[in-house]
Every structure is written in structure tokens, then in C-alpha cells.
């Protein structure tokens, strides 16, 4: 579903991403681990065609991203590190707008409320302007937007940063159920524990290179941390 072939991004002579080869099938959750500046966001930006690859290609559902920027986005949902919303609109109005832009006009107000509720926005907060929302609440609206999009692939850039442990764990459950439905997930994260919990695969990224990849079934949590430190600082 998500595929990178020799994907490379140069800024001048600096390699932000160095020949990434990656394939994420439906139902797989690939957790991209790595220090700040490792190239995780760059990878996601390339899948979104927000930046142009220096060489190689990114594919979504078999389609080259650079050549089908609109078509490939139909299959994608994206949650950034910091979900940003229109501050003068309520949580509900924001969700309504974003789902309408994603061409999902079919939802009733009740259904939209349910999406927000399930993402963890309390009923009384739904009709408040989002300028009163905390960062965690904004992330939750972002989650609701992604869920409502019913995409085949999720691109998550540290989506749980700023969420409290409870919300974070609920998010893990949501991810599991979505991958159970056959959604392919690429998630950049720093959270080794969540990666072990929800990921089917993990990859270690260092200075633009994917230096190791594992299936989480093979390893325990303690092992993951050890491996991470070994690869990152070894």
C-alpha cells in the first residue's frame, strides 16, 4: 500500500533521506524510530508530495506520488506532529470542513459528533471554538479527521506527542482496530513502548538511513530499547 523505492531527499549536499526502501502492506503498522533530524518527517512529506524527491520514488496504492498527487491523497490520511485547526471555528465545524474537503459529504452532524466523541473530545467541547483547546485536544480532532477520511493508508508524524497516557493508549487501540480492518500505517514516533504495543514492524532511522528493521513479534520491549540504543548510539 505504501512503498518507497530508493527514496532520497537532498538539501544541497546534505542527505535528509538516503535511499529508503520500504513496503507497508495493508494491515501492517510500521513504526519509524529515530532521533530528531533522522529523516522521519522528510519520509512522510515525500509520501504526501509536499516535497520533491531528489531520486527514487514514493508510491501509494501502486501509484507514483509525484505523478498522481491528487489521486494518491485520496488513499491517505495524515496526522501531523501538531494538528492545526481554524481557531475561529468549533471542533465540529473544523471536522466538518476537513471531511468536506476530503470529499466525504455523506456524514450527518450526529456521525461527525460521534467521530469526535470516539477520538476523545467531550460533548461540551465539541461546540466550543478550538482556540480554547489544548494541544492534546487538537491532536484528537486530528485523529477524528483521519478516521472520518476512511483512508487505506495512514501517515502519522508523532501523532501522540502531547496526548495524556490514557488518550495515547486509546489511540493505540484505535490504530490496532484500523490495521485490523486492513489499513496500512506509517508512524514516526519516539515512543518505544507504543511502537512495541501497536507496531507490526519497527525501523530504526539514523541520519537519513534506515539502519535496521524488525517485526515486533520477534522482540520483547526490553530488547527493543536495547536494540534502539545499540543502533542509535552504538
Amino acid at each position: 500500500m505504501l512503498e518507497a523505492i530508493g527514496l532520497t531527499k537532498l538539501y544541497g549536499s546534505f542527505k535528509a533521506l538516503d535511499s529508503l526502501d520500504l513496503s507497508i502492506e495493508p494491515g501492517q503498522v510500521f513504526c519509524l524510530l529515530g532521533a530528531n533530524g533522522a529523516g522521519k518527517t522528510t519520509t512522510i512529506n515525500l509520501f504526501l508530495n509536499f516535497i520533491e524527491a531528489s531520486s527514487g520514488e514514493a508510491r501509494v496504492h501502486g501509484l507514483q506520488v509525484a505523478e498522481n498527487p491528487l489521486e494518491t491523497k485520496k488513499h491517505l490520511a495524515y496526522i501531523p506532529e501538531q494538528v492545526m485547526l481554524y481557531r475561529h471555528l468549533t471542533g465540529l465545524e473544523n471536522l466538518e470542513y476537513f471531511t468536506a474537503l476530503a470529499r466525504h459529504e455523506e456524514y450527518s452532524q450526529d456521525q461527525l459528533r460521534r467521530f469526535l466523541n470516539e477520538a476523545g473530545i467531550s460533548a461540551d467541547a465539541i461546540d466550543r471554538r478550538v482556540s480554547t483547546y489544548s494541544k492534546g485536544m487538537r491532536q484528537k480532532v486530528g485523529i477524528a479527521i483521519a478516521v472520518a477520511k476512511r483512508a487505506k493508508a495512514l501517515l502519522l508524524d508523532e501523532p501522540t506527542s502531547g496526548l495524556d497516557p490514557k488518550a495515547s493508549s486509546e489511540f493505540s487501540e484505535l490504530l490496532k482496530s484500523m490495521s485490523g480492518e486492513g489499513v496500512a500505517v506509517l508512524m514516526a514516533t519516539h515512543d518505544l513502548f507504543r511502537a512495541k504495543e501497536t507496531g507490526t514492524h519497527v525501523g530504526f532511522m539514523k541520519q537519513g538511513r534506515l539502519v535496521a528493521r524488525l517485526t515486533t513479534a520477534e522482540i520483547g520491549h526490553a530488547d527493543l530499547e536495547g536494540l534502539y540504543l545499540e543502533h542509535m548510539h552504538g
Binding site: 512529506n45 504526501l48 509536499f50 516535497i51 498527487p69 491528487l70 489521486e71 491523497k73 485520496k74 491517505l76 490520511a77 495524515y78 501531523p80 501538531q82 494538528v83 492545526m84 485547526l85 481554524y86 475561529h88 471555528l89 465545524e93 470542513y97 476537513f98 468536506a100 474537503l101 476530503a102 470529499r103 471554538r129 486530528g142 479527521i145 477520511k149 501517515l155
Partner: protein, 470 residues
């Protein structure tokens, strides 16, 4: 999609306190300007109606005198103010709308030192046209400078584009949003304007509706161009702050600097004499003989023709009143001279206007201002048309009186007439031009506005197509 985007933009704007205040202030100023314009317009129109009626009565009851004395007695002619002058009084404040007409003189009813005024002067007199020309563009900039730059900065643009929204849809939707916000603000003003328009007592009803529609079209072109430019800059700007600064610079250039410079340049390129210089030139030519021909020689030549025509060799033997005939000759001697001097002066003013229209290609304000005054019937071209008609009328009136005297032989200078003649004298009736006449002199301004709109739309579209996420 586009409508959905526009609706969201509009909703955001209506909830943003800054926009509400800015929009409210502009809408209020517009209403005040319309009110002031209406007040001024109805005062002038009412005063005219009374004055026209009184003027005729005064003329007819001037008592017994020689027809030539009656010609010296003089009359006023009034320029009918068009319905739309309440919206855009144009140059009327400077040219005035009244002319004093009497024998021997084409009165110098025209001098317009401040006609083209500078922009600050136009701010000084609050007119609805000035609000549309100067303040609405400013409002458009405030409403739309952050349309793209702001969303890029805040990060919402990433999310919107991750949904697979077409960039051109986004641009069109945002443009429509701004247009919608403006429409909302203008609703009360348009309604008031329409009411005023239908209620306006206009001396010249010619093409009121057509002129209004043309006028609306001109402003749509003008304001549309500002929407396009603002969006294009917002797409390209590195930050919202940068977009705002760049756009305010553009506004200052278009609305303040360019009109000022255009006026100064127009005066330098097509200089006009001051009132004193003009009067001195008239006096000097009179002194040296008009067109190089001395009055006595002119009279002598015409006299010889007259004597030959009647086959007599002395004026005493003529079957006409020689004194009356001579008054008319002296009138005609002066006319050619007025024609020449005024045509030269007025051609210069028209050349200045034409030049300012051309500057409309650089600064659309000049184009819309020119079109607006013209459609409101308050520009210099309309004034000149009135002045020329008034002058033709003066000549008809004076000739009518002189000819009556000429046709009464034997009475000489002591010939007297009364109301019987005065009431037969022609009255002045202004032949108001139709809207096509008004725009026919405005093709340069119109072309400039169309070009600005098309260019700004192309610019916004092509910029949006290359919209960067960060």
C-alpha cells in the same frame, strides 16, 4: 468544493473581531458618505429647480429696454446634475454647475485649480466613490493578505493539502470568500444607494439605469483586481507579515502615490495657464486685434459687404437698424476668439484627463476614478459639453435679441422692447449625453481595468498552482 471553501472563509471572517471592526468601519463610512452625497445632491437639485423658475421670471420681467441692453442683462444657465452625482460628485465641486451668460463675453466659468486634487483632498471630502476607490481595496487587503500565507504559517495548509484539495479550488474558494464578505458589507450601502437612486430628482434622466450598471461593472473590475493581487501575493509571500507589508506598499502606490504623481506629470506635460495668465492672454489679443485683425477693419469689411448687398452706399440708407446689426457683428468678432482660446484651454484639460487614464495601466485607481466620474456625469468631459451648449445658447440668445433690433429700422439706439419679446427668447435646455457617449471617452480606462483584472486573476491562478506547503 469551491463553495464549501468560500463558506468557511466567510464564516471565519465574520467571527474574527478585527475583520468585523474593519468591515464595520468601512460600511459605516460608506453609509455616511452616501448620506452626505444625498444631502448635497438634493440641496443642489432643489436650489436649481427654484433658481431656474425664478431666473426665467426675472428675465421676462426686466422691463422696457433695448434688446441689446437685455443681452447685457444676462441669464444664468444651470448644469443639470445627474442622478449619480450624489455617489461621485467628481469635479463638480471645482467646476461648479452654474454659468452666467451675457453679451460679448464667454464668461470664464471654468477654472479648476483643484479639479484633479490630490488623494488627501479626496479623503477630505468623504464621497461614496472615494470609499469604494480607496478604502475597499484596503479592506480587501486586510481580509485576504493571510489567506494563504497565514494558513501556511499556522500549518493548516499542510492538512488541507494532505486531503487532496486542488490548489486552484482553494484559490477560487478563497477569492469567493472575500467577495462574499464584501458583498455582505455592501448590502446595506447598495440598498440605500438604490433607494436614493430611484428617489433622486434628476434634471437629466438620461440612461440612469445603464450608467448605474456600467458603474457597478467598473467597480467590480477594480475590486476584483485587488482580490487577485492580494491572493497572488499571499501565495508567494514568505510570511503573512511580509504579505501584509508588500500589499500595503502596493496600496500606497496605487491609491496615494500614483494619483499624485499622475496629476503632477499631467500638469507638467499639458500645462494650463493660471486664471490671471488666461485673462491676460485674452486681454492682449483683444488689444492687438483678434486673430491679428483689428476690430475697425473687421467692421469695415463687413459693412462694405452689407452695403453691397443692399446696393446702397451709406448706412443711413439701409432698410435695417444699423446699430442692431453692428452689435451682432461685434459679437461675432468676439466669438471666434473665445472659441479658439477656450478650445485650447479645454483641450489641455482633456489631454490631462487622457493622460491620467493611461496611468491607469500602472495604477488602476486612476482608471476606475476616471470611469466613475464619467458614468456619474460629473467629469470634465460632461462639464465641457454643458459649457459648450451653454455658450451656443448664449450666442443664440444674443443673436435673437440683436437680430430683433436689426430688423426694426429707423429706431436707432432708442429702440425699446418689453416682455413681449423677452418671453419669446429661447430658454436653455441641456441635451444630456447618453451613457455610450460617457464611456466612449473612457476606452483607455476601461482597457486598463480589464487588463488589471485578467492579469491579477492569471497571476493568482498561476501562483496558486505552485503553492508551497512550507
Amino acid at each position: 468544493m469551491v463553495v464549501r471553501i468560500a463558506r468557511k472563509e466567510l464564516l471565519e471572517m465574520t467571527r474574527d473581531g478585527r475583520f468585523r471592526v474593519a468591515g464595520g468601519v468601512v460600511a459605516l463610512l460608506l453609509l455616511i458618505a452616501l448620506g452626505l452625497g444625498w444631502h448635497r445632491h438634493s440641496n443642489v437639485t432643489a436650489a436649481h429647480e427654484i433658481a431656474i423658475a425664478q431666473e426665467r421670471e426675472i428675465w421676462e420681467s426686466q422691463g422696457e429696454k433695448s434688446p441689446h441692453s437685455a443681452a447685457h442683462y444676462g441669464v444664468y444657465a444651470f448644469k443639470p446634475t445627474g442622478r449619480l452625482a450624489f455617489f461621485d460628485p467628481g469635479t463638480e465641486a471645482y467646476t461648479g454647475v452654474t454659468v452666467w451668460l451675457e453679451a460679448h463675453k464667454q464668461n470664464q466659468f471654468l477654472y479648476r485649480p483643484a479639479l484633479d486634487g490630490n488623494t488627501l483632498q479626496r479623503f477630505g471630502e468623504l464621497t461614496a466613490a472615494a470609499v469604494l476607490q480607496l478604502l475597499l481595496p484596503l479592506l480587501i487587503i486586510l481580509l485576504a493578505f493571510s489567506a494563504f500565507a497565514g494558513e501556511r504559517e499556522s500549518g493548516t495548509l499542510r492538512q488541507v493539502l494532505s486531503l487532496g484539495v486542488r490548489r486552484s479550488d482553494l484559490a477560487v474558494g478563497k477569492a469567493l470568500g472575500v467577495v462574499g464578505a464584501l458583498a455582505l458589507l455592501l448590502v446595506p450601502a447598495v440598498m440605500l444607494g438604490a433607494a436614493a437612486l430611484t428617489a433622486a430628482r434628476a434634471d437629466s434622466p438620461s440612461g440612469g439605469l445603464v450608467r448605474t450598471l456600467f458603474l457597478a461593472g467598473a467597480y467590480l473590475l477594480y475590486l476584483g483586481a485587488f482580490v487577485g493581487v492580494t491572493l497572488a501575493v499571499s501565495v508567494r509571500a514568505r510570511s503573512a507579515r511580509f504579505a501584509l507589508v508588500a500589499l500595503l506598499g502596493f496600496w500606497v502606490f496605487v491609491c496615494l502615490a500614483a494619483p499624485r504623481a499622475a496629476t503632477d506629470l499631467a500638469k507638467a506635460l499639458y500645462p494650463t495657464p493660471s486664471v490671471q495668465e488666461f485673462a491676460a492672454a485674452l486681454a492682449e489679443e483683444k488689444e492687438t486685434g483678434i486673430g491679428g485683425v483689428d476690430y475697425d477693419d473687421f467692421l469695415e469689411a463687413r459693412k462694405q459687404e452689407l452695403l453691397a448687398e443692399y446696393g446702397v452706399d451709406d448706412v443711413e440708407a439701409l432698410p435695417i437698424n444699423y446699430a442692431g446689426w453692428r452689435f451682432q457683428v461685434s459679437e461675432e468678432y468676439g466669438n471666434q476668439f473665445f472659441d479658439r482660446h477656450y478650445a485650447r484651454l479645454w483641450d489641455q484639460f482633456e489631454a490631462q484627463d487622457g493622460f491620467r487614464q493611461k496611468i491607469g495601466f500602472a495604477a488602476p485607481l486612476l482608471a476606475v476614478r476616471s470611469l466613475s466620474m464619467s458614468l456619474a456625469g460629473s467629469d470634465f468631459a460632461h462639464f465641457r459639453r454643458f459649457a459648450e451648449q451653454a455658450e451656443q445658447y448664449r450666442r443664440r440668445l444674443v443673436a435673437f435679441l440683436n437680430d430683433d433690433m436689426r430688423d426694426h429700422a429707423g429706431a436707432g439706439f432708442s429702440y425699446r422692447r418689453d416682455q413681449g419679446l423677452w418671453s419669446k427668447a429661447p430658454a436653455f435646455a441641456y441635451d444630456a449625453p447618453d451613457p455610450v457617449w460617457a464611456v466612449s471617452g473612457q476606452s483607455t480606462a476601461l482597457a486598463a481595468l480589464v487588463l488589471w483584472l485578467v492579469l491579477s486573476a492569471v497571476l493568482a491562478r498561476s501562483a496558486a498552482a505552485r503553492l508551497e506547503v512550507s
